[in-house]
Protein backbone atom coordinates (compact mmCIF):
# COMPACT_ATOMS: atom_id res chain seq x y z
CA UNK A 1 0.00 0.00 0.00
CA UNK A 2 1.49 3.30 -1.10
CA UNK A 3 1.04 5.97 1.54
CA UNK A 4 0.14 9.41 0.32
CA UNK A 5 1.08 12.08 2.82
CA UNK A 6 0.13 14.88 2.96
CA UNK A 7 -3.33 13.63 1.97
CA UNK A 8 -5.46 15.07 -0.79
CA UNK A 9 -9.21 15.32 -0.48
CA UNK A 10 -10.88 12.73 -2.70
CA UNK A 11 -14.67 12.48 -2.83
CA UNK A 12 -14.53 8.77 -3.60
CA UNK A 13 -12.76 8.11 -0.32
CA UNK A 14 -15.50 9.76 1.75
CA UNK A 15 -17.04 7.42 4.28
CA UNK A 16 -20.47 6.13 3.36
CA UNK A 17 -22.20 7.84 6.25
CA UNK A 18 -25.57 7.51 4.54
CA UNK A 19 -25.26 3.84 5.32
CA UNK A 20 -25.07 4.48 9.05
CA UNK A 21 -28.52 5.85 9.65
CA UNK A 22 -31.63 4.29 11.14
CA UNK A 23 -33.93 7.16 10.20
CA UNK A 24 -34.22 9.50 7.30
CA UNK A 25 -35.94 12.87 6.90
CA UNK A 26 -38.78 13.65 4.53
CA UNK A 27 -39.81 17.21 3.66
CA UNK A 28 -43.48 18.04 3.24
CA UNK A 29 -42.95 20.57 0.50
CA UNK A 30 -46.44 22.02 0.91
CA UNK A 31 -45.57 23.09 4.43
CA UNK A 32 -41.98 24.23 3.85
CA UNK A 33 -41.52 28.03 4.06
CA UNK A 34 -37.87 27.89 2.94
CA UNK A 35 -36.69 29.60 6.12
CA UNK A 36 -33.31 27.91 5.82
CA UNK A 37 -33.06 26.67 9.40
CA UNK A 38 -32.53 23.05 8.39
CA UNK A 39 -29.97 24.15 5.81
CA UNK A 40 -27.95 26.02 8.44
CA UNK A 41 -27.95 23.38 11.12
CA UNK A 42 -27.58 20.10 9.23
CA UNK A 43 -24.25 18.61 10.36
CA UNK A 44 -23.61 16.94 7.03
CA UNK A 45 -24.75 19.96 4.96
CA UNK A 46 -27.17 17.70 3.09
CA UNK A 47 -29.86 20.30 2.67
CA UNK A 48 -30.25 23.11 0.18
CA UNK A 49 -33.07 25.34 -0.97
CA UNK A 50 -34.33 24.65 -4.42
CA UNK A 51 -37.25 25.39 -6.73
CA UNK A 52 -40.28 23.21 -6.52
CA UNK A 53 -43.70 22.94 -8.09
CA UNK A 54 -45.17 22.02 -4.74
CA UNK A 55 -43.88 25.14 -3.04
CA UNK A 56 -47.23 26.44 -1.96
CA UNK A 57 -46.20 27.53 1.48
CA UNK A 58 -42.95 29.06 0.38
CA UNK A 59 -43.36 32.56 -1.06
CA UNK A 60 -39.98 32.26 -2.76
CA UNK A 61 -41.02 29.20 -4.72
CA UNK A 62 -38.18 27.34 -3.05
CA UNK A 63 -38.28 24.44 -0.66
CA UNK A 64 -35.76 22.49 1.33
CA UNK A 65 -34.34 19.57 -0.58
CA UNK A 66 -32.47 16.86 1.27
CA UNK A 67 -29.71 14.85 -0.38
CA UNK A 68 -29.65 11.55 1.51
CA UNK A 69 -26.21 10.44 0.29
CA UNK A 70 -24.42 11.35 3.53
CA UNK A 71 -27.42 11.87 5.82
CA UNK A 72 -26.86 10.24 9.21
CA UNK A 73 -30.52 10.52 10.19
CA UNK A 74 -29.83 12.65 13.26
CA UNK A 75 -33.15 14.47 13.06
CA UNK A 76 -31.77 17.97 13.65
CA UNK A 77 -33.53 19.24 10.53
CA UNK A 78 -36.87 18.04 11.82
CA UNK A 79 -36.23 19.57 15.24
CA UNK A 80 -35.28 23.04 13.98
CA UNK A 81 -38.08 23.34 11.43
CA UNK A 82 -40.44 26.04 12.71
CA UNK A 83 -43.44 24.67 10.81
CA UNK A 84 -42.88 20.94 11.36
CA UNK A 85 -42.46 20.35 7.66
CA UNK A 86 -39.87 17.61 8.18
CA UNK A 87 -40.61 14.22 9.65
CA UNK A 88 -38.25 11.37 10.38
CA UNK A 89 -39.08 7.92 9.02
CA UNK A 90 -37.49 4.66 10.02
CA UNK A 91 -35.28 2.88 7.56
CA UNK A 92 -36.89 -0.49 6.83
CA UNK A 93 -34.86 -3.55 7.68
CA UNK A 94 -32.18 -1.73 9.63
CA UNK A 95 -29.23 0.15 8.24
CA UNK A 96 -27.35 -2.80 6.83
CA UNK A 97 -29.97 -3.86 4.35
CA UNK A 98 -31.39 -2.22 1.31
CA UNK A 99 -33.82 0.37 2.57
CA UNK A 100 -36.53 2.38 1.00
CA UNK A 101 -34.71 5.68 0.99
CA UNK A 102 -31.61 4.15 -0.54
CA UNK A 103 -33.69 2.40 -3.17
CA UNK A 104 -35.22 5.76 -3.98
CA UNK A 105 -31.74 7.19 -4.32
CA UNK A 106 -30.77 4.50 -6.78
CA UNK A 107 -33.84 5.20 -8.85
CA UNK A 108 -32.97 8.83 -9.28
CA UNK A 109 -29.29 8.18 -10.13
Amino acid sequence: MEIEHPVQHKKEKAMDTGNWRNHYPVVDESKCIACGNCVKYCPEACIFLDDSEKAEASKSGKVAKIDLEFCKGCGVCAQVCPVNAISMRTEEGGNNNETKSKKDKEKTN
Partner: protein, 305 residues
Protein backbone atom coordinates in the same frame (compact mmCIF):
# COMPACT_ATOMS: atom_id res chain seq x y z
CA UNK B 1 -25.68 18.24 -0.87
CA UNK B 2 -25.35 21.94 -0.18
CA UNK B 3 -22.66 23.28 -2.54
CA UNK B 4 -21.94 26.42 -0.58
CA UNK B 5 -21.65 24.77 2.79
CA UNK B 6 -19.54 21.87 1.55
CA UNK B 7 -17.07 24.07 -0.32
CA UNK B 8 -14.43 23.87 2.39
CA UNK B 9 -15.46 20.91 4.51
CA UNK B 10 -17.07 17.93 2.83
CA UNK B 11 -19.36 15.33 4.42
CA UNK B 12 -18.43 11.66 4.72
CA UNK B 13 -16.71 12.31 8.04
CA UNK B 14 -17.26 10.37 11.21
CA UNK B 15 -18.75 12.94 13.63
CA UNK B 16 -21.64 11.60 15.69
CA UNK B 17 -25.10 11.93 14.18
CA UNK B 18 -26.34 15.28 15.41
CA UNK B 19 -22.90 16.69 16.28
CA UNK B 20 -22.71 20.46 16.57
CA UNK B 21 -19.12 20.83 15.34
CA UNK B 22 -19.59 20.67 11.56
CA UNK B 23 -22.00 23.61 11.55
CA UNK B 24 -19.41 25.72 13.41
CA UNK B 25 -16.68 24.80 10.94
CA UNK B 26 -18.85 25.38 7.87
CA UNK B 27 -20.26 28.72 8.90
CA UNK B 28 -16.95 30.12 10.15
CA UNK B 29 -15.12 29.14 6.98
CA UNK B 30 -18.00 30.45 4.86
CA UNK B 31 -17.42 33.93 6.29
CA UNK B 32 -13.84 34.10 5.07
CA UNK B 33 -13.36 36.25 1.98
CA UNK B 34 -9.85 35.03 1.32
CA UNK B 35 -8.47 31.53 1.11
CA UNK B 36 -8.23 29.75 4.41
CA UNK B 37 -5.72 27.38 5.97
CA UNK B 38 -6.98 25.37 8.92
CA UNK B 39 -4.93 24.32 11.94
CA UNK B 40 -6.68 21.72 14.07
CA UNK B 41 -5.85 20.39 17.53
CA UNK B 42 -6.39 16.72 18.29
CA UNK B 43 -9.99 16.10 19.25
CA UNK B 44 -13.38 15.16 17.91
CA UNK B 45 -13.13 17.28 14.79
CA UNK B 46 -9.65 16.18 13.86
CA UNK B 47 -10.14 12.50 14.48
CA UNK B 48 -13.42 12.27 12.61
CA UNK B 49 -12.40 14.30 9.60
CA UNK B 50 -8.98 12.88 8.73
CA UNK B 51 -9.29 9.10 8.89
CA UNK B 52 -6.71 8.06 6.33
CA UNK B 53 -7.12 7.74 3.38
CA UNK B 54 -10.00 10.21 3.58
CA UNK B 55 -9.78 13.87 4.47
CA UNK B 56 -12.97 15.88 4.57
CA UNK B 57 -10.93 19.07 4.24
CA UNK B 58 -10.92 20.75 0.87
CA UNK B 59 -8.80 23.59 2.25
CA UNK B 60 -5.15 23.18 3.32
CA UNK B 61 -5.12 21.62 6.75
CA UNK B 62 -2.65 20.64 9.40
CA UNK B 63 -3.00 18.62 12.55
CA UNK B 64 0.11 18.51 14.71
CA UNK B 65 -0.69 17.41 18.25
CA UNK B 66 -3.14 18.09 21.05
CA UNK B 67 -1.73 21.01 22.95
CA UNK B 68 0.03 23.00 20.26
CA UNK B 69 -2.51 24.41 17.85
CA UNK B 70 -1.48 27.91 18.88
CA UNK B 71 2.21 27.25 18.36
CA UNK B 72 1.69 25.35 15.10
CA UNK B 73 -0.42 28.19 13.74
CA UNK B 74 2.26 30.65 14.83
CA UNK B 75 4.73 28.78 12.65
CA UNK B 76 2.35 28.63 9.69
CA UNK B 77 1.40 32.30 9.89
CA UNK B 78 5.02 33.38 10.22
CA UNK B 79 6.06 31.24 7.26
CA UNK B 80 3.24 32.85 5.27
CA UNK B 81 4.40 36.36 6.13
CA UNK B 82 7.97 35.81 5.14
CA UNK B 83 7.19 33.80 2.01
CA UNK B 84 4.83 36.56 0.95
CA UNK B 85 7.55 39.14 1.60
CA UNK B 86 9.93 37.09 -0.54
CA UNK B 87 7.21 36.97 -3.21
CA UNK B 88 7.05 33.17 -3.12
CA UNK B 89 3.31 33.44 -2.37
CA UNK B 90 1.01 36.00 -3.91
CA UNK B 91 -2.43 35.21 -2.49
CA UNK B 92 -3.99 36.53 0.71
CA UNK B 93 -4.59 33.74 3.19
CA UNK B 94 -6.47 33.67 6.47
CA UNK B 95 -5.49 31.25 9.24
CA UNK B 96 -8.12 29.59 11.40
CA UNK B 97 -7.59 27.26 14.33
CA UNK B 98 -10.32 24.86 15.38
CA UNK B 99 -9.76 23.34 18.78
CA UNK B 100 -11.93 21.78 21.44
CA UNK B 101 -12.05 22.94 25.03
CA UNK B 102 -9.65 20.17 26.03
CA UNK B 103 -6.97 21.44 23.71
CA UNK B 104 -7.64 25.05 24.70
CA UNK B 105 -8.57 25.50 28.35
CA UNK B 106 -6.19 22.90 29.69
CA UNK B 107 -3.34 21.33 27.79
CA UNK B 108 -3.44 23.91 25.02
CA UNK B 109 -3.60 27.02 27.20
CA UNK B 110 0.10 27.81 27.11
CA UNK B 111 0.30 27.48 23.37
CA UNK B 112 -2.81 29.65 22.92
CA UNK B 113 -1.43 32.27 25.29
CA UNK B 114 1.91 32.44 23.49
CA UNK B 115 0.25 32.84 20.12
CA UNK B 116 -2.06 35.59 21.38
CA UNK B 117 0.70 37.42 23.22
CA UNK B 118 2.96 37.48 20.19
CA UNK B 119 0.14 38.89 18.09
CA UNK B 120 -0.01 36.31 15.30
CA UNK B 121 -2.85 37.08 12.91
CA UNK B 122 -4.79 33.90 13.49
CA UNK B 123 -8.46 33.32 14.30
CA UNK B 124 -8.79 30.82 17.14
CA UNK B 125 -12.17 29.11 17.21
CA UNK B 126 -12.75 27.06 20.32
CA UNK B 127 -15.66 24.63 20.00
CA UNK B 128 -16.56 24.21 23.65
CA UNK B 129 -18.35 20.99 24.48
CA UNK B 130 -17.27 21.17 28.09
CA UNK B 131 -15.12 18.06 28.36
CA UNK B 132 -12.74 15.63 26.70
CA UNK B 133 -15.37 14.15 24.45
CA UNK B 134 -13.24 12.40 21.90
CA UNK B 135 -11.76 10.19 24.59
CA UNK B 136 -15.14 9.32 26.08
CA UNK B 137 -16.23 12.23 28.22
CA UNK B 138 -13.68 13.07 30.90
CA UNK B 139 -13.92 16.39 32.67
CA UNK B 140 -11.91 19.37 31.55
CA UNK B 141 -11.37 22.88 32.84
CA UNK B 142 -14.49 23.77 30.86
CA UNK B 143 -16.79 21.24 32.51
CA UNK B 144 -19.63 22.92 34.40
CA UNK B 145 -20.37 22.49 38.08
CA UNK B 146 -22.30 19.33 38.84
CA UNK B 147 -21.70 17.55 35.56
CA UNK B 148 -21.46 13.78 35.58
CA UNK B 149 -18.30 12.98 33.65
CA UNK B 150 -16.32 9.76 33.57
CA UNK B 151 -13.52 11.14 35.74
CA UNK B 152 -15.93 13.04 38.02
CA UNK B 153 -18.80 10.59 38.11
CA UNK B 154 -21.97 11.36 40.03
CA UNK B 155 -23.31 8.89 42.53
CA UNK B 156 -25.62 8.63 45.51
CA UNK B 157 -23.18 10.73 47.47
CA UNK B 158 -21.27 12.56 44.78
CA UNK B 159 -22.54 15.39 42.64
CA UNK B 160 -19.89 14.97 39.97
CA UNK B 161 -17.64 17.84 38.89
CA UNK B 162 -17.11 20.23 41.78
CA UNK B 163 -15.59 23.24 40.08
CA UNK B 164 -17.05 26.02 38.01
CA UNK B 165 -15.77 26.47 34.47
CA UNK B 166 -12.65 28.55 33.87
CA UNK B 167 -13.53 31.97 32.54
CA UNK B 168 -11.56 31.63 29.34
CA UNK B 169 -12.89 34.87 27.92
CA UNK B 170 -11.25 36.77 30.78
CA UNK B 171 -7.98 34.89 30.27
CA UNK B 172 -7.93 35.60 26.54
CA UNK B 173 -8.98 39.21 27.13
CA UNK B 174 -5.82 39.65 29.16
CA UNK B 175 -3.85 39.31 25.92
CA UNK B 176 -5.06 42.64 24.56
CA UNK B 177 -7.02 41.34 21.60
CA UNK B 178 -8.92 43.69 19.33
CA UNK B 179 -11.83 41.27 19.23
CA UNK B 180 -13.04 38.19 21.06
CA UNK B 181 -16.58 36.88 21.41
CA UNK B 182 -18.67 34.24 23.10
CA UNK B 183 -21.01 32.60 20.61
CA UNK B 184 -23.27 29.59 20.40
CA UNK B 185 -23.69 27.13 17.53
CA UNK B 186 -27.44 27.29 18.16
CA UNK B 187 -27.39 30.94 17.08
CA UNK B 188 -25.83 30.72 13.66
CA UNK B 189 -26.53 34.28 12.48
CA UNK B 190 -24.91 35.67 15.61
CA UNK B 191 -21.95 33.32 15.16
CA UNK B 192 -21.53 34.43 11.56
CA UNK B 193 -21.68 38.12 12.45
CA UNK B 194 -19.01 37.56 15.06
CA UNK B 195 -16.91 35.54 12.66
CA UNK B 196 -17.04 38.36 10.15
CA UNK B 197 -15.89 40.85 12.76
CA UNK B 198 -13.19 38.46 13.92
CA UNK B 199 -11.82 38.10 10.39
CA UNK B 200 -11.74 41.87 10.07
CA UNK B 201 -9.90 42.14 13.39
CA UNK B 202 -7.18 39.87 11.99
CA UNK B 203 -5.69 42.89 10.28
CA UNK B 204 -4.40 44.02 13.64
CA UNK B 205 -3.72 40.74 15.43
CA UNK B 206 -5.28 37.51 16.68
CA UNK B 207 -9.00 37.08 17.32
CA UNK B 208 -10.85 34.53 19.41
CA UNK B 209 -14.29 32.92 19.30
CA UNK B 210 -15.63 30.78 22.11
CA UNK B 211 -18.49 28.76 20.68
CA UNK B 212 -20.76 26.55 22.75
CA UNK B 213 -21.13 23.18 21.12
CA UNK B 214 -23.71 20.90 22.77
CA UNK B 215 -22.53 17.31 22.54
CA UNK B 216 -25.30 14.77 21.97
CA UNK B 217 -23.08 11.84 22.84
CA UNK B 218 -21.68 12.84 26.22
CA UNK B 219 -24.16 15.45 27.45
CA UNK B 220 -26.64 12.73 26.56
CA UNK B 221 -29.59 14.17 24.72
CA UNK B 222 -31.31 12.97 21.53
CA UNK B 223 -29.29 13.35 18.32
CA UNK B 224 -31.81 15.84 16.98
CA UNK B 225 -31.48 18.33 19.81
CA UNK B 226 -28.18 20.20 19.67
CA UNK B 227 -29.86 23.42 18.62
CA UNK B 228 -32.65 23.08 21.17
CA UNK B 229 -30.19 22.44 24.02
CA UNK B 230 -27.86 25.17 22.80
CA UNK B 231 -30.70 27.69 22.78
CA UNK B 232 -31.63 26.79 26.34
CA UNK B 233 -28.07 27.42 27.46
CA UNK B 234 -28.43 31.03 26.33
CA UNK B 235 -32.06 31.42 27.38
CA UNK B 236 -31.11 30.51 30.96
CA UNK B 237 -28.18 32.98 30.94
CA UNK B 238 -25.80 30.05 31.41
CA UNK B 239 -24.19 30.99 28.12
CA UNK B 240 -24.70 34.69 27.37
CA UNK B 241 -23.89 35.90 23.90
CA UNK B 242 -21.43 38.76 24.13
CA UNK B 243 -18.41 40.40 22.52
CA UNK B 244 -15.36 42.17 23.83
CA UNK B 245 -14.16 44.77 21.36
CA UNK B 246 -11.11 46.80 22.37
CA UNK B 247 -11.79 45.86 26.02
CA UNK B 248 -15.44 46.98 25.82
CA UNK B 249 -18.09 44.40 26.64
CA UNK B 250 -21.21 44.26 24.54
CA UNK B 251 -24.04 41.86 25.28
CA UNK B 252 -25.63 40.74 22.02
CA UNK B 253 -28.81 39.19 23.38
CA UNK B 254 -30.52 40.28 26.57
CA UNK B 255 -33.01 37.61 27.60
CA UNK B 256 -36.15 39.29 28.95
CA UNK B 257 -37.17 36.53 31.31
CA UNK B 258 -34.34 34.07 31.64
CA UNK B 259 -35.52 30.52 32.17
CA UNK B 260 -34.54 28.77 35.39
CA UNK B 261 -31.47 26.57 35.00
CA UNK B 262 -33.50 23.42 35.62
CA UNK B 263 -34.99 23.85 32.14
CA UNK B 264 -31.50 23.41 30.73
CA UNK B 265 -30.31 20.75 33.18
CA UNK B 266 -33.26 18.47 32.58
CA UNK B 267 -32.52 18.15 28.86
CA UNK B 268 -29.24 16.33 29.49
CA UNK B 269 -28.61 13.07 31.30
CA UNK B 270 -25.23 14.36 32.49
CA UNK B 271 -27.21 16.47 34.96
CA UNK B 272 -29.91 13.91 35.73
CA UNK B 273 -28.62 13.32 39.28
CA UNK B 274 -28.97 17.03 40.07
CA UNK B 275 -32.71 16.84 39.62
CA UNK B 276 -33.08 14.50 42.56
CA UNK B 277 -34.79 16.31 45.47
CA UNK B 278 -31.75 15.92 47.74
CA UNK B 279 -29.65 17.91 45.24
CA UNK B 280 -31.90 20.96 45.13
CA UNK B 281 -29.24 22.91 47.05
CA UNK B 282 -26.74 22.20 44.33
CA UNK B 283 -29.11 23.45 41.66
CA UNK B 284 -29.72 26.59 43.72
CA UNK B 285 -25.97 27.06 44.02
CA UNK B 286 -25.57 26.75 40.27
CA UNK B 287 -28.45 29.19 39.69
CA UNK B 288 -26.88 31.68 42.09
CA UNK B 289 -23.58 31.46 40.28
CA UNK B 290 -25.29 32.09 36.94
CA UNK B 291 -27.16 35.09 38.34
CA UNK B 292 -24.00 36.58 39.82
CA UNK B 293 -22.03 36.14 36.64
CA UNK B 294 -24.81 37.63 34.56
CA UNK B 295 -25.01 40.68 36.83
CA UNK B 296 -21.25 41.12 36.65
CA UNK B 297 -21.44 40.91 32.88
CA UNK B 298 -24.14 43.57 32.83
CA UNK B 299 -21.93 45.84 34.91
CA UNK B 300 -18.95 45.20 32.66
CA UNK B 301 -21.07 46.09 29.63
CA UNK B 302 -22.03 49.40 31.24
CA UNK B 303 -18.45 50.50 31.68
CA UNK B 304 -17.13 51.68 28.32
CA UNK B 305 -13.51 52.68 27.66
Amino acid sequence: MNEQLTKNFYPGHATCAGCGIPAIVRHVLDEADDSVVVINATGCLEVTSTLYPYTAWKVPYIHNAFENAGATASGVETAYRILKKKKKIDKDIKFVIFAGDGGTYDIGLQSLSGMLERGHKVLYVNYDNEGYMNTGGQRSGATPYGANMTTTPASETDIGNKTFRKDLMEIVKGHHLEYLAQANVAYIEDLRKKTKKAFQALEKGPAFLLVLQPCTNVWKFPTSDYVKVGKLATETNFWPLYEIEKDNYKINLKIENPKPIEEYLKTQRRFKHLLRPENQEVVNYIQENINQRWNKLLKKAECQF
